[in-house]
Symmetry: C2
Subunit: 151 residues, 2 copies
């Protein structure tokens, strides 16, 4: 987006915004499947946070990771499921999810529709870290978590 805020960014079609480009979720990474990213408001908004829209295609998932920075997530499209810490939660549009610092998390689409969510994050943030073998084994010791995880 431009460095000057646009007062109004309407949608050209549902969940696609005028002048907001589709970005890859991450470069050179095989730890996720079918995820796109759009920055709806960035540093230009003057709040030190970015508002992004992520969309996970049917059967897709984000990377299992943790980091110091936090997330606030609001699903807006379709149905999903998330791991937050050691809890697996079913997500519907307009639920609220908070991911505290250093909390394992992963998002998956459920069903045949894309799962889209708004995600708040600070502009300055640390790099995500993936679990090592020991951490992964520990997560998988919880049957519900083991069923959920895609790595």
């Amino acid at each position: 987006m431009a460095s000057t805020p646009r007062a109004h960014t309407p949608q050209s079609t549902p969940f696609r915004w005028d002048g907001v480009e589709e970005l890859v979720y991450k470069e050179s990474d095989t730890t996720f499947r079918d995820v796109t990213r759009r920055v709806l408001a960035g540093a230009e908004a003057g709040q030190g946070v970015e508002l992004r829209y992520f969309e996970v295609g049917p059967g897709g998932h984000s990377t299992l990771e943790h980091h110091e920075h936090t997330h606030v997530v609001v699903p807006v499209r379709g149905q999903g499921r998330a791991l937050v810490g050691t809890e697996v939660v079913d997500l519907a549009p307009h639920d609220v999810v908070q991911v505290p610092a250093w909390t394992w998390h992963q998002f998956r689409a459920v069903g045949d529709e894309p799962f889209g969510f708004l995600c708040l994050v600070t502009c300055e943030r640390d790099r995500p870290v993936r679990p090592d073998a020991e951490q992964l084994a520990q997560l998988r010791s919880i049957p519900e978590v083991a069923d959920f995880l895609r790595v």
Copy 2:
């Protein structure tokens, strides 16, 4: 909300969240009509911002005001219209609105349904300021703005 983030805050009914109380929009003020406020994520989220849900009833409107702090707004329910600066824009769910510093703004519901929107704001912020008579006259010199305003 508690000072420890809740991982998942589901909705009890659409646009009503478990454990999130309805708040008055503002105390002792007659400059708005039929607006409620809910804090979906606050300082506990660790990002220096609050995510609030505002709902404007049919025929209702927020206060016409400006301030140094900025807003990022995402409508999620019904139809609305907003003044941002000297621009009147029609709003549909999942559009994005950015209100820069010291920019006049007001939100109204359109039609028979409540108009609900997410609104991002920094936790620490200055007090909103309403227009004086001269500023109001200047705003009203624009016919479209004059038609829109409710003060």
